[in-house]
């Protein structure tokens, strides 16, 4: 299996689907010659032309609203929102249009669209270009929320997202674009709603996504030297959420830590913990469930402050140790 970057995996998924299905097209800002703000659509204008690559003015609301319209009449648009922070500008198209068209029209509308959006801190982009707002989207019935962590997952999940008949928010952590991983040559897809066990272990379950999967894997490696065995569950999609895989893991390990970069209050860690508390896994817990999240602040600019705003590997190590030492 060749090793490619996360960026390349997303690019390849879009190119392959556009070659396969003439109804798939791109729409967004600077996606043409520039190749998208993060270079994901580089070269696609050359291959597919302006009829399949619609480079827009700075008009986020209409980018996504138009994707809804095109999807309702048989197309499969992939819209790019340059930074996830700008999702606030497209909440009407996502929440009131894409998510509801099928329901309020009595099951007769189908809205197969993907909105790609880079999230996350770590690039010094400060408060308006660094947020992780996935919980806002996860709250909406009718939407699906995809949060890949590896090139393999990104490609397989994006292919499924493009083929899915529902509106999908596909979130790409911007620090992952340059990371590499093995991706098979042939066509494959990964079903939405199936979590992946990124590391097996017996002492504690970490549920985490995107870049925090990698920080958690590093932390787990470190902890293994202390004889601590961590299991890492990557839900891969937050809606639908594979609760079963999470609860089964917790029933095995008896301990749960949820790690995410999004801020704590009303973050999705709470949803995971509530789901576990409602499940048979509750009776298997040997320690209180814990969450390690971004602080309840906007993302600051200074690199030391920015680093302090979200969980780091050492924070994860410390939190795991605290749980296992019965400090809570």
């Amino acid at each position: 299996m060749p090793e490619i970057t996360f960026r390349q995996a997303i690019h390849d998924a879009m190119v392959e689907e556009m070659r396969r299905d003439k109804t798939v097209f791109l729409i967004g800002e600077d996606i043409g010659t520039y190749g998208g703000a993060f270079g994901v659509s580089a070269g696609m204008l050359d291959e597919f032309g302006t009829e399949r690559v619609w480079e827009t003015p700075i008009s986020e609301e209409t980018i996504v609203d138009s994707a809804v319209g095109a999807a309702m009449v048989g197309m499969r648009p992939i819209a790019e929102i340059m930074f996830m922070d700008f999702v606030t500008l497209v909440m009407d198209p996502l929440v009131n249009q894409a998510a509801k068209a099928r329901y309020m029209f009595g099951g007769k509308a189908t809205v197969p669209l993907v909105v790609r959006m880079p999230n996350g801190s770590g690039a010094g982009a400060a408060a308006q270009h660094s947020q992780s707002l996935e919980t806002l989207l996860m709250h909406i019935p009718g939407l699906k929320v995809v949060v890949p962590s590896t090139p393999y997952d990104a490609k397989g999940l994006l292919i499924s997202s493009i083929r899915d008949p529902n509106p999908i928010c596909f979130i790409e952590h911007k620090l992952l674009y340059k990371t590499k991983g093995n991706v098979p040559d042939g066509e494959y897809s990964i079903p939405l709603g199936v979590a992946d066990v990124k590391r097996t272990g017996t002492d504690l379950t970490i549920v985490t996504s995107e870049i925090m999967v990698h920080k958690s894997l590093s932390a787990a490696e470190h902890l293994s030297k202390e004889g601590i065995s961590i299991e890492i569950i990557d839900p891969r999609t937050l809606r639908p959420l594979d609760v079963d895989t999470i609860t089964q893991s917790v029933m095995k390990t008896g301990r749960l830590l949820v790690v995410h970069e999004a801020v704590k209050t009303a973050g999705w860690a709470g949803e995971i913990m509530a789901s576990v508390s409602e499940s048979p896994a509750w009776d298997y817990l040997d320690a209180p469930m814990r969450r390690l999240t971004g602080k309840d602040i906007p993302i600051p600019y200074n690199k030391f402050l920015e680093r302090a705003a979200v969980p780091q590997e050492e924070d994860i190590i410390r939190e795991v140790q605290a749980i296992l030492n019965n400090e809570y």
Partner: protein
């Protein structure tokens, strides 16, 4: 006339030779009568809606277009069956004029399972997607963004369809107006923008909140041909809309048509008309589109007084039958409440 509740007395209109005008527009006498009949049908539907509401049979609210029927019929006649309609929340008239089944509309209005949306949408969200009727929009102005996407799809598929998007003067003050018209303009999308200026965005008169009226001038500023016409003149609406559709269908890009009309009733059921005078409303009733068109047809010997009465009775019966259909229809099943969230 007839059984309609809201009387329109239209006087002093300059007489036009309707036979000559119809010939110019390529309309047959039968089409003229059909336009008139559809206006009467819309009026009966909406008057019935107010009656049903008064009888406590309507669960939600409604937004009525009484006084705006000429816009609906003049436009509906220009739509071809494979064109797309993206409608606003005050959309009963446009649906009826585009050929929607009034039984299913009335059933949806009463929230029944036989309604267009199985009772999931109600008056404000009537849609018939399989018939290219992409629904009425409850978020004022959002339909303008949706229309851009439909225009893109038409361009990619290389068909000769047109996307018709209808919105009011209120929506013309939303940011998406600029985004949508601009994008349709730069890409020459086959989108016809129909701005139904009925003078009020809920309670606020259009001049007080609009830096530039008529809105057609804003369209022109974005490179979109813009027109402002008398929206209570069914033939004028038809003429301009037909030209707009021909332009868009020929691949020449979007067109913006602003029609001036007047919302005779309140915004919705909670409206007590505190913001306008009875005299103003009465003045516009005098200019009402149905009586005005009727007068033209009578003077042009296209219909007789007897036909007028017959049409009125016939359309009243169509709407009474729709109510009967709706009232005899089942409620949606409670267990279906979670249906239709995902495909």
């Amino acid at each position: 006339m007839g059984t309609r509740k809201i009387k329109e007395e239209f006087e002093n209109e300059k007489t036009i030779d309707i036979q000559k005008k119809a010939k110019e527009l390529g309309l047959s006498n039968d089409q003229l009568v059909e336009m008139y009949q559809t206006m009467v049908e819309i009026r009966h539907f909406e008057e019935m809606a107010t009656q049903l509401y008064a009888l406590g049979k309507v669960h939600g609210t409604m937004h009525l277009s009484i006084g705006q029927e000429a816009v609906a019929v003049g436009t509906g006649l220009t739509l071809q069956s494979n064109d797309y309609l993206i409608n606003h929340h005050r959309g009963h008239g446009h649906f009826i004029a585009s050929g929607a089944d009034v039984n299913k509309m009335m059933a949806e209005f009463l929230g029944k399972d036989t309604g267009f949306c199985h009772g999931h949408g109600g008056s404000m969200h009537i849609a018939d997607v399989s018939a290219n009727n992409l629904g009425a929009q409850g978020i004022v102005g959002a339909q303008m963004g949706i229309a851009v996407g439909v225009g893109i799809a038409i361009k990619i598929k290389k068909t000769d369809q047109v996307a018709l998007v209808i919105f009011g003067d209120g929506a013309a003050n939303r940011g998406i107006f600029q985004e949508s018209l601009n994008m349709s303009s730069i890409w020459d999308l086959p989108v016809v923008y129909l701005c139904e200026n009925n003078h009020y965005a809920m309670s606020v008169e259009v001049e007080r909140v609009s830096g530039k009226v008529p809105f057609k001038d804003r369209a022109k500023a974005l490179g979109v041909p813009g027109y402002f016409i008398d929206g209570n003149d069914a033939l004028a609406v038809y003429e301009f809309m037909k030209n707009a559709f021909d332009h868009a269908r020929a691949g020449l890009g979007p067109v913006f048509v602003e029609v001036e009309t007047y919302r005779i009733l309140g915004h919705s059921k909670s409206d007590r008309n505190l913001y306008r005078s009875k005299e103003e409303i009465d003045e516009w009733k005098q200019k009402g589109p149905i009586r005005r068109f009727e007068k033209l047809l009578l003077e042009g010997n296209i219909i007789t007084e007897n036909q007028v009465i017959e049409i009125d009775k016939k359309m009243a019966k169509v709407i009474e039958d729709a109510v009967e259909f709706a009232e005899n229809s089942p409620e949606p099943k409670i267990e279906d409440v979670t249906e239709f969230v995902y495909a």
